[in-house]
Structures are given as C-alpha cells and as structure tokens.
C-alpha cells in the first residue's frame, strides 16, 4: 500500500463530509441525530482539515487527478502553500461554526434539518474543492456548487418573501461574477484549449490580454467579495440566512474570492503592472470606507455585520493592491510584508466575523429580535454570549492586543515604510492611503461600540428580554473556539507569521522568516529600532497595572461596595426607552457623511396624536446604478417579447427563416 499524502487525507475529509450530507439526507426529519451527531462530526472533520493543511503548508505541491465529470475532462487538484493556508482557515473556522450549528438549528424553521445538513456540508465540500482545483473546469463546477448550495442555505426560511428575494439577488450577483471568472479563464488559456492551471501558468500572454484577464478576475471575484459597486447582495443575503450560514458565508466563503484573486494575479499571471495594484487599492479603499460608514448607521444587527464584511473585504483588496504595486517595482520584501498583512487579516476576519455572526444567532434565538432598537441589557441574561462577542467586537475594531490589530499594524507598516518608488504621484499617495485606513479602523471601533453596547449593555428595551436565556453548551463551545482564534492571532503574531511565510515565499519569492524569527515575543518586520510590537508584554503591562491598582487600593483603603438604583443625575423618571437607540448612535455619522446616504426622514410634529419617527437610509448605488440597469433589462425583455407572438405559425416561420439563413451561410 502506498503512503497517503496530505492531499489524499484531505480528500478523505471531503469524503467524510459527503457521507455526512448523505446521512443527513437519509434522516431528513430526525433533528436529534442531525444536530447532535452529524454536525459535531462535521466540526471534527473541519479540525482534521485544519491540521492536515497546517502540515502541508511547507511541503512541495501535491497533485491529484479525479475522474469526475466528462470522460476526457477530469478534475485536476493541487495542494500548494497558498491553497493549504486557505484550507487551514476554512477548516479552523468551519469547525467552530459546525459545533455551534449543532446547538442552533431547531425544529420547524423552514427547511428540514437533514436537508440543511446536506446543503451545509455540500457547501463546505465545494469551498474546499474551489481551493484545491487546478483546472478551470473543476474550479467553475465547484464555484457554482458553492453558490448554489449557499443559495439554498440562504433561503432556508423560504416562506418569507424577503428571504426569497434576498436569495434571488444573491444568486443573480453570483451568476454575473461567475461569467466574468469564466471569461477570465478563457483569456488565460490563450486559445490553446487546455484549461488546466498548469497550462495557464506556462502561457506568455500579450500585456493587453493579461490586463483584460486581470480586470475580468477583479470583476468576478470582486462580485463575490462585495467590492463596490457589486456589494448589494451582501447586506441582503447575510441577514436572511440562518446565523451559522451567515457566519460561514461571511467568515469563510468571502475568503474564496480573495483566494481566487490571489491565485489568478499572483500565480497564474506572470506580469505585474503597477496600475493593477492601483486599481485594487482604489477599489478596496472606496469599498472599505463605504462599508464602514454604512455599517455604523445600520439598525439591523446582521446587516451591520454584513456591511462590516464589505469593509474588511475592501481592506483585503487594499493589501493585495499594495503588494502588487511593490511587486511591480521589484520590491519583493515590501510586497511580502503587504501580502502578509492581507493573509493575516484573512485569518482574523474569519475568526471574528464568524464569531460575531454566531453571537447574533444566539441573540436571535433567545429574543427572536434582529432590530437593535428592541434589544439591550443582554449581558446580564446571556453572559457567555456577551463576553465572547465582546472579544469578537474588540478584534473587529482592530484593538490591541487582539488579532485584528496585528493585521492592521502590518498593513500600516507596509504603507509607511514604502521605499521610494519611481512614480512620484504614487510615492505621495501611498502614505495618505495609510491615513484613510486609520480613519476606517477608527470608524470600525465606533461601529463595534454601537453593536455591542446597544445589544448587550444598558437596560432591556423590551419586556420579553428579561426572559432571554443564555446559549447552550454547543453554541458556547463553537463561539469559544473562534474567540480563542481571535486571542491567539493577537498574542502570537510571530508564530502565525511563520505559518504564512511559505505562502508569500511561493507567490513572491520572499518572506519575513529570518527577520521575524529573531525574537519570539516581539514582532518586528524590519528591525526593533524601526518598528516593533510585543502583544504579550503589552497585555501583561495592562493586566499588571490592573492587578496592582486593584490590590493596592484594597490594601491602602478598602473594597467596600454598595448597590443602589442608578443615579442618572438625580433624574427620577428614567425608563429603558430613554436610552440612546441604534438610530441615535448612528446620527453623528449620518450627519458627517451625509452625501454617502439617500435618506428618507419622517419627523413627528408637536401636534401629532401618534408621533412617529422614521429614518430610512438607502444606498445611492441601488437608486442610480441598479434601478436603471434593471429598467434597461426589463425594457430589452419587452422588446424581445415582440418576437413572442404565441401563435405557432409565427414560430414555424422563425424556424424557416433560420434554416434559410443557415443554408445561405453554408452555401457561401
């Protein structure tokens, strides 16, 4: 018997997931079996996948050919450092989400549990497949499987009309993106008719064609990642889906778009043009700012997180763009630093965004409320969910010493220490981009204070919230696993940088290896004199002062504490309705960034019998880009309907004319 390689074991994990989905199909209505056996088993397989991917990071690329599909067109698979890293993220994040899902799905909510189990695991399998695919055929088949299976998951509550329309929007955008990716592969194979990635790597395309291929890839993968103006599906699809699915889509699936972009631009294409990087940088920056500004004014907690995902995808694009700019000028070391920041952020985003979505899932279950304005005070009834979500929120806000800060730090480092580039304009603009990124991350902090504060702090805004219950053990375990990820990414940056090193080495031929390995606790990409960050010492410093202050105050004075009603400046009529609402918290942002929004306000007058306050914040893109586009499509469809007379004689005439035309062409 031959030795099994990591790729074979990973295929075994995939097989395991397929078996689970079949088992879910067999036991469609048996919730207990599906929830308490199949989902945890899936989570365990996810963990195994993460371990295998970690082991395969350093090794040489492994190839496999699966005889699936058409007779002469098998699936080519390839496991190299890039795919291993993304598999690691998929495995680690999905294991937490699967364990959470074991406690999440209940009876009588739309799709039957077994069916959900089938769709969920097919979704996982297709994501792994996309990352492993080594030819365009396999890639596209699995990419579409991913879109379809997630479409069915999004529409799990298909009895609600808004869920169905969100699903429709999602699948439409997925289709448009897929067409662009297909065209991109068409360009890349350069007319050879051989669609394997190995062949694409070997082609030396003309620069114009390469650029066309690149732009198609940006469009296609940008549609999946939610880059402006292709972002409209995210804030619709994420709230519609059940929370574990939102977590999986936002934390894991969006990363496949980043993977695809990296695969095409840095692996399959040889050319590195600086304006490619500038395109990505500009698109990413606009998207990040747009996403975070919209996130801060949302009143639906899952929509808020969806916009925050848009922001983070924008930041990832910025990182890739910067990496491309450096690579185009031959600055491999700086390019590796920017790519490192990007890949680090992929991991931390997967952890914190999944965690936050799972947190909203638990809140949704406990209160059946998604509107921030009707929540509040849940830290007292749901302490587990609250504290774990707080970790996720702090990571999302990019605060030290957690995972989000490390990637932000690395990204800012690569912006600040850009050596002189031959283009003066670029030289000037790159540090300014760093300032905008600082603004984006500060706004993310604002958004997260709003998100966490309004949901978990204060007094309950509705009576029913007093009866909210904490999450069950499965849900807690799943969230705790992801929270551990956030903390570990924050505290052990040197360790994780070494994990990512093989990827930058594969793509750019440079890594941070030696320079980082010098010190185990201090992250210093160049030298300690230039910049360094030691999260463990940082945390110890804060906690040390915390503990010292706590002890010294008690030793020198006392630790007496009295409980009483809240003071509130002595104002005696305070009710829970007088707290700041989500709308109120977003008000300064609405005012400052007014041109960003299309706002509709209904303000009550002093004489209203039933005063009503309403603010609807909409997106300019929908009104000025999508609505005209939809109108155009409708108009064209109506023109086509002129042909559709509904009488058989007319159709026969069409056939006759077509035949005649064909004959004419053939004869000439």
């Amino acid at each position: 018997m031959t030795q099994w390689l990591a790729l074979d074991w990973i295929l075994a994990v995939v097989g395991g997931w397929l078996l689970i989905s079949v088992a879910g199909m067999v036991a469609v209505r048996r919730l207990g079996l599906v929830a308490h056996l199949l989902f945890p088993l899936g989570g365990l397989l996810g963990l195994a996948l993460a371990g295998l991917a970690l082991a395969a990071l350093e090794g040489a690329p492994q190839l496999a050919v699966l005889p699936i599909g058409l007779p002469s067109l098998p699936f080519h698979l390839r496991l190299d450092s890039l795919s291993a890293y993304f598999l690691l993220v998929v495995g680690a994040a999905s294991s937490g989400i699967s364990v959470f899902a074991a406690g999440y799905f209940r009876k009588g909510e739309g799709t039957a549990p077994g069916l959900l189990c089938l769709e969920y695991h097919v979704f996982l399998v297709s994501m792994v497949g996309v990352i492993l695919a080594d030819d365009a055929y396999a890639f596209m088949v699995l990419w579409e499987t991913m879109a379809l299976s997630s479409y069915f998951l999004v529409t799990a509550n298909h009895r609600l009309a808004e869920v169905r329309s969100a699903g429709y929007l999602y699948i439409t955008m997925a289709r448009i993106g897929a067409i662009a990716i297909l065209l991109c592969f068409g360009v890349l194979q350069a007319g050879t008719g051989d669609y394997t990635f190995a062949n694409m790597r070997a082609q030396a395309l003309a620069p114009a064609w390469t650029s066309i291929g690149f732009l198609l890839a940006v469009f296609g993968f940008g549609a999946k990642a939610g880059i402006l103006p292709l972002h409209v599906w995210l804030p619709e699809a994420h709230p519609a889906a059940p929370s574990p699915v939102s977590a999986l889509m936002s934390g894991v699936m969006l990363n496949t778009a980043i993977y695809g972009l990296l695969r095409v631009t840095l692996d399959l294409l040889h050319l590195r043009l600086w304006w490619w990087g500038a395109v990505l940088l500009a698109a990413g920056l606009v998207t990040a700012l747009f996403g975070v500004v919209f996130a801060s004014v949302q009143v639906d907690m899952k929509r808020l997180l969806a916009f925050s995902s848009i922001e983070n995808m924008g930041l990832l694009f910025v990182g890739i763009g910067l990496s491309l700019i450096f690579a185009s000028f031959g600055l491999q070391q700086m390019s590796a630093l920017a790519l490192m920041a990007t890949l680090y952020h992929v991991a931390s985003h997967a952890c914190f965004k999944s965690l936050l979505f799972l947190g909203t899932g638990s809140v949704l279950h406990a209160t059946s409320e998604r509107n921030l304005g009707k929540l509040g005070g849940l830290i007292r009834t749901m302490p587990w969910v609250a504290w774990l979500t707080l970790l996720g929120a702090l990571t999302c806000a990019g605060l030290p010493p957690l995972g989000g800060f490390v990637s932000e730090w690395l990204l800012l480092q690569s912006f600040l220490f850009a050596p002189a580039l031959p283009l003066p304009l670029l030289n000037m603009l790159i540090p300014v981009v760093a300032a905008v990124i600082a603004l984006v991350s500060a706004l993310a902090g604002y958004t997260m204070v709003k998100f966490f504060g309004v949901i978990f702090l204060g007094q309950p805004r509705e009576e029913k919230l007093a009866r909210a219950h904490d999450a069950g053990p499965w849900e807690r375990a799943g969230m705790a696993w992801l929270a551990c990820g956030c903390v570990a990414l924050g505290l052990l940056p040197t360790r994780f940088v070494q994990v990512i090193d093989p990827v930058t080495r594969q793509l750019l031929g440079a890594d941070l290896g030696q320079r980082v390995a010098g010190s185990s606790w201090l992250l210093a990409p160049n030298s300690t004199e230039q910049a360094s960050y030691g999260p463990v010492a940082f945390l110890m410093g804060i906690l040390g002062c915390f503990a010292l202050a706590y002890v010294v105050v008690r030793l020198l004075y006392h630790g007496r504490l009295r409980r009483g009603p809240a003071w509130a400046c002595g104002f005696p009529f305070g009710t829970a309705r007088m707290q700041d609402t989500a709308e109120g918290f977003g008000q300064p942002i609405r005012q400052i960034f007014e041109p960003f929004f299309m706002m509709r306000r209904e303000l009550p007058t002093a004489f209203d019998q039933r005063p009503r306050y309403l603010v609807v914040v909409a997106d300019h893109f929908w009104r000025w880009f999508y609505v005209p586009l939809i109108d155009l499509a409708n108009y064209l469809a109506q023109l086509m309907s002129l042909l559709q007379q509904g009488r058989i004689s007319v159709y026969l005439m069409y056939s006759f004319l077509t035949l005649l035309a064909t004959l004419l062409v053939v004869m000439s």
Binding site: G377, I379, R380, P383, L390, L394, A397, L399, P400, L412, L416, M428, P431, V432, A434, A435, A438, L439, A442, G445, Y446, V449, K450, G453, V454, L457, G458, Q459, A524, T528, E529, Q530, A531, S532, Y533, G534, F538, G541, I542, L543, C545, F546, V553, L556, Y557, H558, R560, L561, R562, G564, P565, A566, W567, A568, G574, A576, D580, G584, F585, Q587
Partner: protein, 315 residues
Amino acid sequence: MSFSGVLSQLLEIVIAIALAPLLSGWVNQWRAWLQNRSAPGLLQPYRMLHKLFNKESMVADHASSLFRMAPYLKFGCMVLACSIIPTLSTDLPLAPAADTIALVGLFALARVFISLAAMDIGTAFGSMGARREMLVGFLAEPALLTVLFSASLISKSTSLTTIVETLAHRDFAIYPGMAFAAVAFLMVSLAENARVPIDNPATHLELTMLHEALLLEYSGRHLALLEWAASLKLFAYSCIGLALFFPWGIAEARAPAAMLLALPALLFKLGVGGFLVAVWETVNAKMRIFRVPEFLATAFLLAVLGMLVQLLLAR
C-alpha cells in the same frame, strides 16, 4: 536589558503616576488665577483622590462586571501609555512592546471600554456621553496617527524612542510638515483630553458633557481611578507633544546621568505647557457639539496636509 534601563523605566512610571495629578492641579490653579478667582491649592487633586478612595463605591443595581472593571482597565492602559512614551529617557525596556500605532491602539482600547461602561447602566446621559466620546474618538484617532506618521516619515521608524532620538539629534532644520502636524496635534489633544473648546472640564452641565457624562455613574474608588487616569492621559499627551516637537533634554541610553537633568527639563516644559493650556481655556469658549466634527476634521486634514508637505519636501 540593562540595569539603568530598568531603573529609568521604573522611575518613569513612578514619576508619571505621581506627577500626573500635579499637572492637572497646576492647570486648574492657573486657570483660576487668570479668571480672577481664588485658586485651589496645587495639591487639591491629591486631596480629591484621597477623599474619593476613602469613600464607599456606589454601583447601580444592574451594573455588570464590565462596569466595575473598566476603571482599572483604563488606569492600566494609561499607565502603560505613560511608560512607553519617552518622558525622561529613551532607554526604556518596555518601549519595544508598543510603537506609535500600538500607542494609539492603547488609547482606543481605553476609550472603547470606558464608552461601553457608560452604556452599561442604560441611562440617557451615559449612552449620550458614550456616543459623543466615540464621535470625538473616531475623528481624533486617525488625526493623531497621521501626526505620528509624519514624525515616523522623518525618522523612518514608528518606534517612539527612535523618533525622539532622531528628532533630538538632527541639525536644526525647519520641517514645514511638522508645523502642520503640531497644529493638528494640539487640536487633537484638546479634544482627546476633553478641554475647551470641545468640552469644559469645569462643569457638569448637561450640554457641555462629554468626559463627565461617561463618569456620571461612578463614585468612590472607581471615580478616583478614572480621574487619575484622565490626568495620566493629559500627562501622556503632553509628553507625546513634548517628545515630538520639543525633544531636547530627554536622556538617552548612552548617557544615563542626563536623567538628573531630564527631570527639571520635563518639569519646566510641562509647567510652561500647563500655563499655556490655562491661558487657552480662559480666552476661548466651548463650541457647540455639532461643530466638533468640523473642528476634528480640520485637524485630520491638517495632519494629512502636513504629511503631504513632508513627502513633497523630502524627495
């Protein structure tokens, strides 16, 4: 890690903790004098802290543990901030743990926690204060970072100690970029420390409340720690300003004896700075909260402009 390094690190922490209330007292004294009032003693902040520590802490019935832990956390953050900013010496063993970006992150961490704690009680004042604090924060934070970036671009480093060493040792040269940065920094530090014209530290009135609204529900030792942390923050910001724009007199690793000179130099610089703050607060009035975003956006744009000028002239 040398012995003198550990010594200067400890000395710096002790000096910061001990002197921070004195700086607040100094500013308050001068402000009272300039406003023709009889001033409280220079040691009034210490008496205040002592009184508060002696008092019992009164906590709302439904306050969560987040509320009780936030003052300690903020105090810890501010002490750490003061220990990585070179006030007396650049020979600080803790400094490599956090560069300027992490320092701004540290301030942000403290701000987020204190805002969350203010929202925890669920009174109208607390959540309003939290919202305003975060509003100031999200505009001031990037401005502060951009100011620090300008300095980083000169010294090719984001480490504060390296920045100070470079700036202190350079030949006398005028950096027009740093002039913009200095104005931006001044605006940011006024906003961050809740001074006029953003907030009035002398009142509890509702319409002027920013910093005070956050502390409204605190009492006893919690309030004492928060007040102390606020004066530490003022101290930290003053020291960042001095380190960036007046770095002379700060001792270096090669000359530990200069520490003896560094303390009087620091006291002198802080004394002058505190006096100027008092003058500023006397001749200016607080602005409406609606004007604050404009003020801070100006600071941010000035900082960006400073960075651009810096880059334009450097090449």
